[in-house]
Symmetry: C2
Subunit: 228 residues, 2 copies
DNA sequence: GGGGATCGGAATGGATTCATTAAACTATAA
DNA sequence: TTATAGTTTAATGAATCCATTCCGATCCCC
């Protein structure tokens, strides 16, 4: 707990919030695992208060669920809840790219082009981490260009909910060409301000992700059965 | 603080959360007003802890903003932020009604019909409160019928952000006929499973709301100027 | 007389303490 | 041996306490 005062002040509760959030999203804290205040307080070297306040926020985000008089645990991710998230994301990403068609300026368009190229380069390195980052960067430019703060917040939120699966998705190299193609199509659609085309590419993009994630889930299920 | 143990247990923080939330949404707590922990604790007859935890959740919802080392205050609603919310709501409500077209069962369809009738009756009473409730009930049926928990949560959240304006909107009796018509159209579209029509009615519905709210805002601005 | 510094009050940030409750374990009886 | 009841333990809920910081007012010096 020494590297936190880097350049700006952040209340402890927010540090804890971000920490726990990351641990849940990256799978370090597994679904169903109990979040015990004292234990976390010891582990993170703070008192219970910031832990509790962080948990309240995670609760509202749906990342943890509260059981009255029992405490918090990491929310289960069911197939259904994932489908729910993807359904909403699909609509919001479509909205985002339509707005981007209207609102993206010349400089941003160039940034997007560069991000597109960088993503293609990243796929060639086969460095999963790098690919994921380039992908996020690309999508961020689109979403940010809408200038709609609420939309930005919601999309970020929803995409983070799927991070643990995204890694697996990106690992699958057979998908890479398609991903690059889809990104290029998005770029072109925005460049031409063709809202319809843009929206349909995004929806296809998310559908692909959904399929990949479902495959992933079934794979995991299989492994579990096998281990038993 | 005595009527709260009605039938089920609710942690104090959630009681406080709901209370503060209502007061903000109904305008009892005005934008910019400071939320002082001790003061609220005295007022509500609880200690600071549940107050703080409630405020954390309100912060994540965007209803209050935290100023470091200064405390919380009720978030300002700018024209821009309202437009942002409406933009997102429009997309999500459209998604909701499209899904409703696919998924709504016969019983729910009948419920929706009844809600539609009840709304029409409510407009005739001219009881603003009743009308608002009937309106909420109608939309709730649609959103709930999607079965998408995340979508339900988000739409509820976003609509509540506009409650203070909605009252004013509903007061305007010249709009009532149009509202009733739009509700009927929504019902029919869902009944025929006509997704396109449904989505376009919803978008029109929200556009109307936006206009009404803008009128309302300008009115308030005028009043303010006048009072000066 | 004006500007700056210092002191005081007040509010938040965080920790500790106390009470309540629920779950688990053990012991006893059938 | 199993089931039930009682006890114990551990974790959350809530309140109080201490430290830090910030804003404002007053006072002193230029």
């Amino acid at each position: 707990m020494s590297m936190i005062m880097d350049d700006e002040y952040l209340p402890l509760r927010d540090v804890v919030f971000n920490t726990l959030r990351q641990e849940i999203l990256t799978g370090k804290l597994k679904p169903g695992e109990r979040l015990m205040e004292i234990h976390l307080a010891n582990k993170l070297g703070v008192s219970r208060t910031p832990i509790r306040e962080a948990i309240r926020k995670l609760e509202l985000e749906g990342l943890v669920i509260m059981i009255p008089r029992r405490g918090a645990e990491v929310a289960q991710i069911s197939w259904k809840s994932l489908k729910d998230v993807l359904e909403v994301r699909s609509a919001l990403d479509a909205l985002a790219i339509e707005l981007a068609c209207e609102r993206m300026g010349q400089e941003e368009l160039e940034l997007l082009y560069k991000a597109c190229e960088r993503f293609e380069e990243a796929t060639e390195t086969r460095d999963t981490r790098k690919i994921a980052e380039a992908d996020v960067a690309f999508h961020d430019i689109i979403v940010m260009s809408t200038g709609n703060k609420r939309l930005i917040q919601l999309v970020n939120n929803l995409s983070e909910q799927m991070y643990r699966y995204r890694f697996e998705y990106i690992k699958d190299e057979s998908q890479h060409d398609m991903l690059v193609q889809e990104h290029k199509e998005m770029y072109r659609s925005i460049q031409c301000k063709d809202k319809k085309a843009a929206a349909s590419v995004v929806k296809k993009h998310i559908d692909n992700q959904e399929e990949a994630i479902i495959r992933q889930l079934q794979l995991e299920k299989g492994e579990k059965k096998h281990r038993k």
